[in-house]
């Protein structure tokens, strides 16, 4: 085995140990931040596949998260709670008939992801074929908003704007980081594969890629479906972390957060999306005191200014389009070491 593989194995073992320890012992506040970080990172990894790697600007991940969130909720909410929540408009069949035990959680998450993928086909098949650039962005944004309106109005499924309370809090580090690791691995593999090369070629020069025989539309759709799946799973995890779900949870600001994350991480960098996802969650919570102590809403002011500044002065983000590698770490450490050495001299 090459040394990098060994490092990776050790890293994963360490991560597993951390999850095992963290779920039991970690301070609840920090535990929550890390969970949120993993969920944001997960959605961002998918989002950067379509926006960054493929260069097709979607503004709709909040819609896919909404679908995943609601479907997971409908699967996992205990029957007695379903009766309490849907007071005025009864819950539609078949969700009023059953609920899944904890062991079915993974099924619910995957179902949420699949529902999001189906939705991505509905919007993606016409839109990715005909539109690009900001027109595509607007169409996907519109789709997300339509889902929001539907969520507000289809009382029988969503209980409308009041939302659903009392969702069992199944999400923990095992689930959130587990899903993140699995899907990030898939994303990295995909990006580095022949398919990923095709996606990057589409970003760089769609016309050239098409002239070399690549079915551009199918590949865009592939990336879009992957991003929808990640968003759907992330939505499910988020609903079962917070314990309540409302349409407002997945409005456009959610896409705004994800956009911040992938821009900060470097558009097209998967490792950048992961790192920035955790940073975002941490800063978001850390700035909570600004909201309570200073003025509510200050956080968002800070974030919007940050986004604008990144775009104006730091467009490459943290990682540019590069990915994390162990060599990169070694080089960094070596450089730091040498720097320290020369300084002490």
């Amino acid at each position: 085995m090459r040394p990098n593989r060994i490092l990776t194995v050790f890293f994963l073992l360490g991560l597993a140990a951390f999850i095992w320890w963290g779920d039991a012992r970690l301070d609840r506040f920090i535990w929550r931040i890390i969970n949120f970080g993993a969920i944001y990172a997960l959605a961002a990894v998918g989002y950067t596949m379509i926006n960054g790697v493929t260069g097709q600007f979607s503004l709709g991940p909040h819609g896919f998260m909404l679908l995943g969130g609601y479907l997971t909720t409908l699967f996992m909410l205990p029957l007695h709670q379903k009766k309490v929540v849907w007071l005025f408009t009864p819950l539609s069949w078949p969700f009023n008939q059953f609920t899944l035990p904890y062991s079915g959680f993974i099924l619910a998450l995957i179902a949420g992801g699949i529902l999001a993928v189906l939705a991505s086909l509905i919007v993606g098949i016409p839109a990715l074929r005909a539109l690009r650039g900001d027109y595509l962005a607007i169409a996907t944004f519109g789709f997300g908003e339509i889902l929001y309106v539907l969520a507000c109005n289809f009382m029988g499924l969503t209980n409308g704007p009041m939302g659903v309370k009392g969702i069992p809090q199944y999400t923990n580090l095992k689930w959130s980081i587990g899903a993140l690791v699995v899907l990030t691995y898939a994303a990295v593999r995909l990006k580095n594969s022949s398919f990923g090369r095709a996606l990057r070629a589409i970003r760089e020069d769609e016309l050239a890629a098409e002239s070399m025989g690549i079915n551009v539309f199918r590949h865009k759709l592939l990336a879009f479906m992957f991003s929808a799946f990640c968003a759907g799973v992330a939505g499910g995890l988020m609903a079962t972390l917070i314990g309540t779900i409302t349409p407002d949870l997945f409005r456009f600001f959610m896409t705004f957060y994800l956009l911040m994350i992938i821009v900060l991480g470097g558009l097209g960098s998967i490792s950048g999306a992961v790192v920035a996802g955790f940073i975002f969650a941490a800063v978001f919570e850390a700035l909570r005191f600004v909201d309570t102590a200073v003025v509510p809403g200050m956080r968002m002011v800070v974030f919007s200014v940050l986004l604008i500044l990144v775009m104006l002065f730091f467009r490459r983000g943290l990682f540019g389009r590069e990915e994390f590698t162990w060599e990169w770490v070694f080089q960094g450490v070596r450089r730091a070491w040498r720097g320290a050495w020369t300084k002490t001299k």
């Binding site: 022949s194 020069d205 050239a208 890629a209 070399m212």
Partner: protein, 261 residues
Amino acid sequence: MDKNEVILSLQSLTMKFGGLVAVRDFSMDIRYGELVGLIGPNGAGKTTIFNMITGHYRPTAGKVIFEGRDITGLPPWQVARLGISRTFQNIRLCREMTALENVLISFHPRVRSTVFDAILPTPRYLREERKMRERGMELLSAVGLEKWANFRAGALPYGLQRRVEIARALATSPKLLLLDEPAAGMNPAEAADLMNFIRHIRETFNLTIFLIEHVMQVVMGICPRIRVIDFGVSIAEGTPEEIKNNPKVIEAYLGEEALRA
């Protein structure tokens, strides 16, 4: 392969943009193994003809027949898969990717593994990927680029970018290669070099080549048959010698005789 069989037949191609007729009633047959030049002053409609062949434009009228099959109006990626590949007037490389990756893009349409093979990854996928890289390196060596395989395409000097673009086109295993002003922006020495290179790849890869240029001396050296167009209309065809002495051609390039006074 019969040398006399027609590989590409353009039949009365016409392309209008709004009121402007870019190409009018253009017909031409190209036979297997030929190296044909298409020349004409700037704005004569040369690139438009290429775009109609490759499916970037749908001709207003007329047909494109490739190997006996009507391919008029097929999308570019299907045309490419049938065996027509091209380069662009202003080099269109994926600049952020390496030279090798640019070549590998062209192999992608023939990848058999599925996305899931790639994600897992299955042995089948790994084998395919390894083979692809080997073949990509072979191709780059064949065009003398092996040293530059892992350089960012956008960072290469202009002449080499041109070669990478040709290598990428070759990687689709084309039967017919369309080169759009390959010598643009090159000085005479570089252009001569490139012409040798084109001759070389034509023999190595057993290609039919259709070449656009507007610099006549570039084409004269390598194309046994040349077609000249002006204002979207064919004005002459023949050997370099015939073209050189054709009064219509001289007129198109140098301007009207009457203005001499």
